[in-house]
């Protein structure tokens, strides 16, 4: 566990003790990443705001939902945001088909889109590591991961949309997750 993870743990402990300043500090650390992924998944700023608000409120209401024995706070919280974003977009889809994704939400290519946003150095470093790891995946694996994670597609739907057997989707997904696990493994 590195220094930043330990700092998160301390902030989480203080949030559990109802310290608002610690809550605000976690918001400062993770608000941009949370809003970024929520926007990326939902493509709608109002829904993304609701997702982020709900995730932080859930943290405030039930901080004990995070178990430090199960991994880093960062992973726990960003997973929570992602889950809520996928939930929201699937619900929206049932009521109406999404329209075009906003152009400024498309995945960045080349330049790091984080450069205009002030964030903690460790998150910036981790962000580059994640993107570098993703870039090493074969395009077919990147594609299924993108559709599942950022578009909230089920494996069945991915298979339908790509016209490939669902077994292939499963195989590619597992291969991608295993490669990312190795590339991103933290000491």
């Amino acid at each position: 566990m590195d220094e930043d993870d330990r700092h998160d743990l301390e902030l989480h402990r203080l949030v559990s003790a109802r310290e608002r300043s610690a809550f605000d500090e976690l918001y400062r650390r993770y608000g941009r990443s949370a809003y970024g992924v929520a926007l990326r998944v939902t493509s709608q700023d109002l829904i993304a705001q609701e997702v982020v608000q709900d995730a932080f409120l859930a943290l405030w209401r039930a901080p004990e939902a995070f178990d430090p024995a199960r991994g880093a706070f960062r992973s726990f919280f960003l997973s929570l945001v992602h889950h809520r974003a996928v939930d929201a977009v699937r619900r929206e889809e049932r009521l109406r088909r999404r329209t075009e994704r906003a152009a400024n939400l498309e995945p960045a290519t080349g330049e790091d889109p984080a450069e205009d946003v002030v964030e903690d150095a460790y998150l910036r470093v981790r962000r580059k590591e994640v993107r570098a790891a993703l870039a090493t995946l074969p395009p077919a694996q990147q594609q299924v991961l993108e559709m599942a994670y950022f578009e909230g597609r089920t494996q069945v739907r991915i298979a339908e949309e790509l016209g490939i057997p669902i077994g292939t989707v499963k195989t590619r997904t597992l291969a991608a997750m295993r490669k990312l696990r190795e590339a991103l493994r933290e000491e």
């Binding site: 409120l57 039930a62 939930d87 494996q155 991103l184």
Partner: protein, 245 residues
């Protein structure tokens, strides 16, 4: 039972990405309850895949949230009850307008929990409920059990397609600190937890459930400790029981 770990790894990868549905999701649910807790290898795999899933969020460009979001959060935090709060009254349309929703897709398998997110969605859900009622759906009582406040009774309404149910309450008490509510689907006395826990919003609760009524015949809502995955309904706290019709 001997498990195929390659198959389990496939399921766990799909599970952490929220991309399972149908039988795969049901199988993942079973493995998560029956196998993973007792298998160190699978526990490690699940933990590692969850870490990857969390970090994948960083692949999205970070974006500054609106400056109004943190003040809104502070306001909402002030409103969050840490213990019981008197319920308020309201019409069904108001229930939907400020509800907490929980959706279970494909029987018990994949669960999507979300707070209804905007006025359009809330209105849409309210209209779906009204449409179901107008189509002749008869409300069914979901009855408070034991010492559960009798005024907290819930109402269950089936959508015309039968598979979709709405469960609404205007007077749902806040769970005890550190607890939340859990929905269970029952069949012949066997209870299966629907994955994600939930809270009422100032006494108001709305659950939307897509469920295979051929597989389940009862629902049970119980109070459970947050952060744990219950395997049996908790009979000590407040709970509500209803039939699937």
């Amino acid at each position: 039972m001997t498990e195929d770990h390659e198959r389990i790894d496939e399921l766990l990868a799909g599970y952490v990405l929220l991309s399972l549905s149908g039988e795969d999701a049901a199988e993942a649910d079973r493995i998560l309850v029956d196998h993973v807790p007792s298998c160190a290898t699978c526990r490690a795999t699940l933990s590692e895949f969850q870490a990857v899933s969390g970090d994948l969020a960083l692949a999205a460009p970070p974006v500054d949230p609106p400056e109004t979001l943190l003040p809104r959060l502070h306001h909402a935090m002030d409103e969050v009850p840490l213990s019981g709060r008197p319920p308020r009254r309201g019409a069904l349309i108001a229930v939907a307008a400020s509800a907490v929703a929980l959706v279970a897709m494909g029987g018990l398998s994949v669960v999507l929990g979300n707070r209804l997110s905007n006025a359009e969605t809330r209105t849409g859900t309210a209209l779906e409920i009204l449409s179901a009622v107008r189509s002749g759906a008869a409300p069914v009582n979901v009855t408070p059990q034991g010492q559960t406040p009798p005024e907290s009774g819930m109402v269950e309404v089936s959508a015309p397609d039968v598979r979709r149910l709405y469960i609404a309450s205007e007077f749902c008490p806040e769970p005890a600190p550190g607890h939340a509510y859990q929905l269970w689907l029952g069949s012949d006395g066997d209870w299966t937890p629907v994955w994600r826990m939930f809270w009422p919003d100032e006494g108001v609760l709305l659950l939307e459930i897509e469920v295979d009524v051929a597989r389940y015949d009862q629902i049970w809502i119980t109070q459970e400790a947050v952060g744990q995955r219950p395997t049996e309904p908790n009979t000590d706290g407040p709970s509500w029981l209803g039939s699937l019709t």
